[in-house]
């Protein structure tokens, strides 16, 4: 398992009757990667996972694991292990029996299983809990048992279907780190399904952003955050302020758009769309709340926006200012708290500025639901 086994999806289509759940997915997952599929519920990410684990056959295209076509190979013959959303621990078996189920199938003796279970229980920091029933464990402990059970099968690829969604926030954050650690320790490929961009960004080597069965972008978390391909990717991953307009002028990797209310604004064209956007196209300009700053009064230009402050809130590490932009849509500005005195702007009109590098232009498209 040193190099890890990669997973490839080639022109993968999955249909349920007339409904297309996955549309022409092409994904290369390197061996040993922590790879996430990120998207809202119903976007087809779980369908992809089920196709990889063997519970679904592709309508078209291929699923390859370690370069081998998996068509016709059942879930029990694939080198994958799936961690279910609800964990699916066997309720009538004790923890150690749960963990070593895959060994029982192969006919291992009880003593062998006990030994392996104890090793894995140590690894997931639950020593001595093997004789309990799953129902006697807490949510986080059950979570770890499910991981141990999957790892006990010694899979080449571990598939995780939103395994943290049932946990409370604190535990979820703790489990993120733990999952990442486990992945680095065992060195196998993790494919992780989530709708939580925080999970995807913190744990993954690479992320595929999905929408309605289509993969919008595959890149590292940093790239997706800073250089999104589509309006959906820009609005789904992290918070973003959007300005709509028509492209007025393209200047190499930058372009100026004419917005209805905020005047002309300049931004960097996202890498994937460079050379594809031309004058007159509908476009969307995205600026992160933390990329906006309050400018001196009266400043005007193609990287200034004026807005009226609706309300402000103090979040601890940042001050959030919510303004009524000229475009009618709310603009959020986050100003880091350096301990400075903070002036209340509520009801006032302020000017916001940004650096052209931090504003991204993509073709107009569907936004993620709030």
């Amino acid at each position: 398992m040193s190099a890890g086994v990669g997973v490839d999806l080639e022109n993968l289509w999955i249909r349920f009757g007339d409904f297309v759940a996955v549309r022409d997915a092409n994904v290369n997952i390197n061996g040993g990667d922590f790879f996430s599929f990120l998207g809202p519920s119903g976007c087809g990410k779980t369908t992809i996972l089920r196709a990889v684990s063997g519970f679904l056959d592709p309508s078209e295209g291929r699923v390859l694991i370690g370069g081998k076509d998996m068509l016709g190979i059942g879930p029990n013959k694939r080198p994958t292990a799936l961690i279910f959303q609800n964990l699916a621990l066997f309720p009538l078996m004790k923890v150690w029996e749960n963990i070593t189920f895959s060994m029982e199938i192969k006919g291992a003796s009880a003593a062998q299983r006990r030994k392996r279970a104890d090793e894995l229980l140590d690894m997931i920091a639950l020593p001595g809990q093997g004789d309990k029933l799953p129902s006697e464990l807490s949510g986080g402990q059950r979570q770890r048992v499910a991981i141990a059970r999957a790892l006990c099968a010694e899979p080449d690829v571990l598939l995780l279907d939103e395994p943290l969604s049932a946990l409370d926030l604190k535990l979820r954050q703790h489990m993120r780190t733990e999952l990442r650690e486990i992945q680095q320790r065992v060195g196998i490929t993790f494919i992780y399904i989530t709708h939580d961009q925080g999970e995807a960004l913190t744990m993954s080597d690479n992320i595929a952003v999905m929408r309605d069965g289509v993969i919008d972008q595959i890149a590292t978390g940093k790239t997706i955050y800073n250089d999104p391909n589509t309006a959906f990717a820009a609005s789904f991953v992290g918070e973003n302020n959007v300005f709509r307009g028509k492209i007025k002028q393209v200047m190499g990797t930058e372009a100026m758009i004419a917005t209805n209310r905020s005047g002309d604004l300049v931004a960097r064209i996202s890498t994937a769309n460079q050379g594809k956007m031309k004058e007159g196209d509908d476009a969307m300009l995205f600026i992160r709340p933390e990329a906006l700053a309050i400018a001196p009064d009266g400043a005007t230009g193609d990287h200034y926006v004026t807005a009226r402050v609706k309300h402000e809130e103090f979040e601890g590490n940042v001050f959030n200012i919510f303004t009524q932009g000229d475009g009618g849509k709310e603009i959020k500005v986050s100003i880091p708290n350096h301990g400075q005195s903070f002036q209340d702007h509520t009801g006032q009109s302020i000017t916001l500025e940004y650096e052209t590098q931090n504003a991204v232009l993509v073709p107009a498209g569907e936004l993620a639901a709030e």
Binding site: F55, A81, N86, A88, F90, S102, I105
Partner: protein, 419 residues
């Protein structure tokens, strides 16, 4: 004020409800211990166990019980298997067909047992003949036919019980097992079956009871293997004896015993679970055996009381001899009967005297006295006296005066009607 009234009426209602529910059972059980030859509670004659003795000497009843047990076991196996298959099918089938499938599977419950019995008989007879087998083949065997016939609808009951549990089954568990390398058969055996075990046990008990008490279907299919219900029905046809009450008592006692045992077991599991929840693993090793069987377990206490009572009763039964009491009662009965005969005779004698007096009064009008009243037996053997007083005078008034022609009334149209 109104609150206490409400409480009183609820209690009254409960009492009436349980009397209605359990009264017949209690009365029947009590009659099993009364020496009266007809099952009744009053007058109480003697405490006796003779009816149990008689029951266990009755070869037909014993044979019926044996057949019932064999058929019950067969029905349990077949019904639970078919019910489980049907229930699994229900969860697998195409959703649009599900309602239809459900109706079809449930239909046998709605069909009268008599119809099921006849159709089973006819159907298998046809198959038997098509295969060219004789009347002694397996397909016309009473046990086989009864098991098949009963299972047609008992399997539906089983399916209902099993579906209820299966609906709570998370299919992801089977998928998890497959994903971990299990074959479909292994996933079924190691995951689904253990999950279904409580429901399978309930379904088996239900199937056995339904089979044991079935009459309508069995009556057509039993062939040479009459079950207990069939034997009872045939026995009752010739009159009911308290040995049937004794059988009823045994069945009631067994039912109560197993219900209590089950309750005690459940309660025990609950207690064990509660202890487990509050204990760490280290504690568990030592503590798990400790919770005494009785701790906070009313049902367990009842089971033990029940067992003690049974031993006491059986012990008493072997030692107790009601012969003297029975003899006393018999003697008393004989005396009573004699007394009653005496009274009856006296009554009759008085009636006779009265009638004679009446006839003597009418003597002037009717010259010939009525014959046959002067036998030496005080009128006891006179055919007319059997009919009672009221009928005695009717023939005289109702019979129309016979015509006096030479044919002795043979051609009288009225005489034809009188026959």
């Amino acid at each position: 004020m109104s609150g206490s009234f409400l409480r009183v009426s609820i209690w009254a209602y409960l009492v009436i409800f349980f009397l209605y529910l359990l009264g017949p059972l209690v009365i029947m059980s009590v009659t099993a211990f009364n020496s009266s030859a007809f099952p009744r509670m009053s007058p109480w004659e003697c405490l006796t166990f003779q009816w149990f003795d008689e029951l266990f000497r009755d070869q037909r009843i014993l044979n019926g019980i044996k057949n019932s047990l064999i058929i019950g076991a067969g029905t349990v196996v077949l019904s639970v298997a078919m019910g489980l298959a049907g229930a699994l099918m229900l969860t697998q089938i195409w959703p649009k067909l599900r309602a239809t499938y459900y109706t079809v599977i449930i239909a046998p419950i709605l069909i009268p047992g008599v119809v099921l019995g006849i159709s089973t008989l006819v159907f298998w007879d046809r198959i038997n003949r098509m295969l060219g087998l004789g009347a002694d083949s397996v397909l016309s065997n009473g046990v086989f036919l009864t098991v098949i016939g009963q299972s047609t609808f008992i399997a539906s009951y089983c399916m209902l019980v099993l579906v209820a549990r299966l609906q709570r089954y998370d299919v992801a568990l089977t998928e998890a097992a497959l994903d971990l390398g299990a074959t479909h058969a292994q996933a079924f055996r190691k995951i689904l079956l253990p999950f279904m075990r409580p429901a399978i046990a309930s379904a088996a008990v239900l199937a056995f009871l339904a089979s044991f008490e079935n009459y309508n279907t069995t009556t057509f299919t039993f062939g040479e293997y009459p079950t207990l219900t069939i034997e009872l029905a045939q026995k009752v046809r010739y009159g009911i004896t308290p040995s049937i009450s004794a059988l009823a008592f045994i069945i009631v006692a067994l039912t109560v015993f197993f219900a209590l045992l089950n309750e005690a077991k459940l309660k025990r599991q609950e207690l064990v679970a509660a202890v487990r929840k509050n204990a760490t693993v280290e504690e568990l090793a030592g503590k798990i055996k400790l919770p005494s069987f009785f701790a906070g377990n009313a049902a367990a206490v009842l089971v033990v009381i029940f067992a003690v009572a049974t031993i006491t009763v059986v012990g008493t039964a072997t030692a107790y001899d009601p012969a003297q009491c029975v003899a006393n009662v018999r003697e008393q009965k004989r005396l009573e009967a004699e007394q009653r005969i005496q009274e009856l005779r006296q009554q009759r004698e008085e009636q006779r005297k009265q009638r004679e007096a009446e006839e003597a009064e009418q003597g002037g009008a009717q010259s010939a006295p009525r014959p046959s009243n002067n036998s030496g037996f005080g009128n006891v053997f006179a055919p007319n006296t059997l009919g009672g007083d009221s009928e005695e005078t009717q023939p005289q008034s109702e019979t129309p005066p016979s015509s006096n022609d030479g044919f002795g009334g043979a051609f009288d149209p009225n005489s034809l009607q009188n026959d």
